[in-house]
Amino acid sequence: MEKKRLLEKYQIPVGHLDFDYVKKCENPREMEKIVMILRSGEEGFYPDLTRCAEEKLKELKPNSKMFRYEEQIRTSDTLDVQELKPIYDWTEHIKYKDHALSVLKEDSTHLPPIRKPSKIEIDKQEDKDTKTQKAESAAKTNISAKKQTNRIKSTDYNKWDKYDPDEEILRMDLEEERTKEQVQVRANQLETAAVAKSKAGHIDKQAVAEQRLAEQLKKLSQLEREQYAERFRLRGNEYFKVKDYDQAVSEYTLAIEYDPEQAARAYNNRAISQLKQHKYVAAMEDCEACLRLEPDNVKAILRLADANYGYGRRRESYGLYERVLNLESNNASAQKMLKQLRQELGELAPSNATRLIIEEVEQKDQKEQKSQKEKKDQKEQLKPKAKPQPKVVQTKKEYDLAELVKPNRVVKSKIASAAEALGKLKGSNHNPNSNSDIGQKQQQMPLPLMMMQQGMPTSQPELRLNNNSGSSKNKLLIQEL
């Protein structure tokens, strides 16, 4: 059988193999096909057209597979001696390290315990799955069978006379919601327990890890420490590349701990990670630590300047950018930032301006305080060097939050009506929560929540629970209120 020609295979008319069409074509996929046909030479050899088509394709789809070329391996003779020198130097260096390592005596560092001998069965998964499924379905049928026992017999007319479908529906709804709520409560409990546990565990673990780290560090030689530190730094770089700054910071921290004497690069990298997260103070500290180790590290100065600028200390950052330019006169980003700063400088106060001090006003509500603090911080960041202004005391209004809580009035009326509605239910014998509890809860409830409850009484747990213990108790509750 004759092989199909590419032209037929791709269903491209011959007319498209043309300069005009190639120039107009906007479909990268079609362009790829055209290039493929032209390169194959099946339709003849047109070097100019091929080149033109390739250029167009490069424009449309720069990373097309058509631009993958096989290269011949080059030998090192083609390289300049200068290029090979780093390798030779490295070889000498590593040989020295190698020797140093081999001299080190092996001490039995405490290793984690041996795993218990065990087996993983393959190919038996299916059996297990079906078994568990069967068990589950059996359990389900059991449950449904139990549920059925409460049914009224179809011949029991007395009972049917008493049967009120509306009430029954209401009760079912309530029951459903109660179970839902119970599930929620249980989940919440579990969650809080888990959080508490993990918190405690976290602190424990941290302490243990720190201790172990210290022990390990003691055992390691300087050479090994360098190695590990370098590895952590590289891992940090990987996290940094994929913008996982938290992880990057923790890797760099490890790198610094392992080899604090040669940690300039790790500090520097941690600084930029912090900077990306807008943690300016931490970034500044890291830059300074890096500069202590390498006083003329241009990157560190630049980052310190950026951090200062981000923090709002423009004057300091101005000086730092200038320092960068002194070391590296053609640093583009420093030049750009200086230009920008000069424009902004008009707004800046003279350097002898005093800092605005904001006194903290005592607040009853913590949240309020927090948000104000944040605002203050922001203000500080925005214009800490503002021209001397008269001290402004925070003129935030103080809200009396107590006013927001008006339990008695609202609750009374609402609960009464709700209880009445529920009281109509005969013999509703659901499992109750204690009533006094409910009362307290409602008293503490702020206004908005109350309103919500009014809106949909049946869906709110607190109100609904009242019906659990019969109408007499409901009345009691209302009296208490």
Binding site: R68, S76, K105, K116, Y228
Partner: protein, 375 residues
């Protein structure tokens, strides 16, 4: 030229079949494992010396060596774990090779692949070695344990006589450790000749996930062994290269992946792929950058790939369940190294761009790759 370029720095022809090449950590030396024509195993240690290679040591043993690793040894001892054609796993002290540090007849048949972990990683659990063999079993070893594996992942015992059932047993071609980010978690990925890919969870002692790929799996590797699973690269017969995003596991769809179908063939000088489909023998991630890796193909060509992450690494499907999103593969460079398959490759753990490659043309090459830091 601003893109990485591969340069053949040194070339050493040997008189045996090369099966594996590995750098000795923190040194300028590498080990070549192979099989002599009389099927004796041979282990050569070479050292880089300016512009030439110097053979430092040569050891011969009875059974041909198939694969080796330094993953479970600390920087101080640097012992090598070696699997051979008779199913024996031994750990050799390269200074004193006559007596093995650990020696166990682990499998009934050839050990195809070995991987190890825990030697130089701290806080990552105990040092362990995993082997995969033609007898279908994957076994995890702890050299302090004695003669039994710590985890045995064997296919179920055969019923009936062995002759009729012998080809039911799968041949394990590739194993790799991963997900070892603390003392408990550890996962073994295993690839089989029928295209089965299985993930074994060593903490839960269960099969975490399995999939079947069209072709037999020749190579698997996690981009990093000692972090929470990030990516898994899988290479197959007939030129398949798959990279799975291991961050998000969908309950039914599993992990999502990106596939390259012609990773083993030569792309030719004009970008048109021709010639027969060729196996991708090996995949090795760059120790200094986990998103760059190399594949060695059956036509003697090696390729450097770069994985590009998507903007968001997961989406929510119709039921609101998280589903991973795979990235893209970009071919950085393709070089033909040999006329025979390049089946073993090792980046130097401490020097960016330095690598050693073994091919079936009975030669070992030291390669230098420039500008890898620009990726």
């Amino acid at each position: 030229m601003d893109k990485p370029q591969m340069i053949e720095h040194l070339h050493e022809a040997v008189n045996y079949t090369v099966y594996d090449t590995k750098w000795i950590p923190l040194s300028a030396k590498f080990v070549v494992l192979g099989s002599k024509p009389n099927s004796h195993g041979i282990l050569d240690i070479y050292e880089l010396n300016e512009a030439k290679l110097e053979k430092v040591k040569s050891v011969e043993k009875k059974a041909a060596f198939k694969c080796g690793t330094f993953g479970a040894s600390s920087l101080r001892n640097r012992h090598m774990a070696i699997g051979d054609f008779e199913g024996r796993l031994q750990v050799l002290d390269l200074e004193r090779t006559d007596l093995a540090v650990y020696n166990v007849k682990g499998h009934n048949s050839i050990i195809n692949c070995v991987d190890a972990i825990g030697g130089t990683q701290l806080e990552c659990g105990s040092p362990e070695i995993v082997t995969g063999s033609r007898d279908g079993a994957v076994k995890v070893w702890d050299i302090r344990q004695g003669q039994a594996p710590v985890v045995d992942i064997s296919p179920p015992a055969q019923m009936g006589d062995g002759i009729n059932n012998s080809n039911l047993r799968r041949d394990c071609w590739a194993v790799a450790f991963g997900n070892t980010y603390n003392a408990e978690e550890r996962i073994v990925a295993a690839g089989y000749d029928n295209g089965d890919l299985k993930l074994f969870d060593l903490r839960a002692l269960a099969v975490r996930w399995e999939a079947t790929i069209k072709n037999g799996i020749c190579g698997v590797e996690f981009d990093r062994r000692d972090i929470p699973m990030n990516k898994l690269a899988v290479t197959t017969l007939e030129g398949g290269l798959l990279v799975y995003d291991m961050r998000t596991q969908h309950p039914t769809k599993g992990f999502s992946w990106v596939e390259e179908r012609n990773a083993g063939r030569s792309v030719g000088t004009n970008g048109i792929i021709n010639g027969p489909k060729a196996t991708v023998w090996t995949v090795r991630h760059l120790p200094q950058n986990r998103d760059v890796f190399l594949t060695g193909g059956g036509t003697g060509s090696i390729r450097i790939w770069k994985y590009e992450y998507p903007d968001r690494r997961f989406t929510d499907d119709a039921d609101g369940i998280k589903e991973g999103v795979a990235g893209k593969l970009q071919m950085v460079s393709a070089v033909t190294l040999s006329s025979q398959p390049v089946h073993s490759f090792d980046w130097h753990p401490d020097k960016l761009g330095l690598a050693v490659a073994g091919a079936f043309d009975q030669s070992v090459r030291v390669l230098i790759t420039t500008k890898l830091n620009t990726l």
